[in-house]
Symmetry: C2
Subunit: 249 residues, 2 copies
DNA sequence: CGCAGAATTGATACATCTCAAGCTGGGTGG
DNA sequence: CCACCCAGCTTGAGATGTATCAATTCTGCG
């Protein structure tokens, strides 16, 4: 399995959209989808491209349709911390605010289904179902952020790497069903630097811990970019959280 | 200034409520407040008391009216990380979920204005204004959690302490207007252990850094529990984030 | 083929943790 | 009223995990 080829999306029909049942529009009726279709537009960014800078005015909000985007904060002296990893169906932006609080960059080629913020605000004001879905998604992100706080504050470098791989395996398998005969595996969409920024480590430590876990047979790497997990339960154990017996989802 | 005396609340009228204009009910009209008044009830917990355990069924949601509550997560081996600090007007619980994801404890005597979750859900379903306010508050908490991720992942112990004091000074001054002639000051409602758990440090490191900053004249401590800040701008600088010139709020 | 960015590996430094001892203030009971 | 106690806090000395600095080695690509 090579890294994803990422064909450029030219999607227009919501009913065929890959994130139709997961995104902010998940609970919409056909009539409500038509409302959305009238005001949506697609935007695609190339890997490494900056989508927005923290503090910038951003008059758009929207969902990741394809690819991965990164949210990060930077201290004045350059230290950086990733604070969010946006997978397909995740929502970017905040209705009711006109600046964005974090830097947003494209990790891979990434396509958004965007709305003008003012139009989206009008829409949620008259469509409580969408507002409710957005509330659910925001609570989910808050829970995820808090879980990440536990990782950042209390886990060792080894546990951090194992936890990251667990999360990425779960998120990937929720989105893509891969042939089961090849075992559990997922692409590492992000660089060592992005991993380091997500985990609050340096790239050297990330590299050393990946090497150590690999050496101990927890996974193998295909061309340094695809992880093949040998024993998911053992990886979960290394992640340090409650060992719930190795259930994937 | 001694630690707060915390008179027990026997509040019943929303219109006199100290958090009336900040909590989830902030935008409610008098008629909507009546709806809330019918289903609300007060609960008070004593310092140190456990309010709920992570994973537990919790059929209540509500707002902190008075006092401080702590949200934390624990790893199987006992390492703990605080993931939230609930001040008056902050909301606890998640409509649409019947378990709570974190441990909740009382740092001080703390009083909640609670609702049965099912009743609150019915209420927000017919009162989009409350749902909208809850969405705003959840976005604010998400932003705060992400800022905390930057602290946990990238700041030094010294910066962490300075940042905590900045946050506590801001939150305290937003709630209580203190006589200006005595300079900027706020009570440390939480123990060194809670600070350590919030900052991802040990209590020894917290203690050493507090001593160091105190020695350098950034603040003084009154009976080890009230912080008198000598130079807020300097404290902000020590916190490491963008030095925006020492504005309090 | 050779270059540039990304990743690995090694040697050393240092911030924070760990373990241990002592201090402080408030409460209790003789 | 004083001696004691205990939880919370401080301070010290040494251990350790991760950062830092510095080479190499990979990998993809023109």
């Amino acid at each position: 399995m090579a890294m994803p080829s990422a064909p450029r999306l030219t999607q227009t029909k919501c009913s065929d959209c890959p994130i139709r049942h997961r995104a902010v529009c998940a609970q919409c009726e056909p009539a409500e989808l038509e409302d959305l279709e009238r005001i949506k537009s697609y935007r695609t960014y190339t890997p490494g491209e900056t989508i927005a800078w923290a503090g910038e005015r951003l008059s758009l909000v929207g969902s990741v349709v394809q690819g991965i985007a990164l949210l990060s904060s930077t201290l004045p002296d350059g230290r950086r911390q990733m604070v969010g990893l946006l997978f397909p169906s995740d929502f970017l932006g905040r209705p009711g605010r006109d600046t964005i609080s974090h830097d947003v960059t494209a990790a891979t080629q990434v396509t958004f289904c965007m709305f003008q913020k003012v139009e989206f605000e009008r829409l949620i004001a008259r469509t409580p179902k969408i507002q409710r879905r957005l509330l659910e998604m925001t609570f989910d992100e808050l829970d995820a952020a808090r879980d990440w706080m536990l990782l950042l504050g209390r886990k060792t470098a080894r546990e951090k790497i194992a936890s990251l791989f667990v999360i990425m395996a779960r998120r990937d398998s929720a989105l893509n069903s891969r042939p089961a005969d090849q075992g559990l595996r997922f692409p590492l969409y992000i660089t060592r630097e992005a991993m380091a920024d997500y985990l609050g480590l340096t790239i050297e430590t990330v590299s050393r811990q990946i090497s150590a876990l690999k050496r101990e047979g927890l996974f193998r790497l295909e061309e340094n970019r695809v992880v093949h997990i040998a024993d998911f339960a053992r990886l979960l154990e290394e992640a340090g959280d409650d060992s719930d017996g190795g259930v994937l989802i």
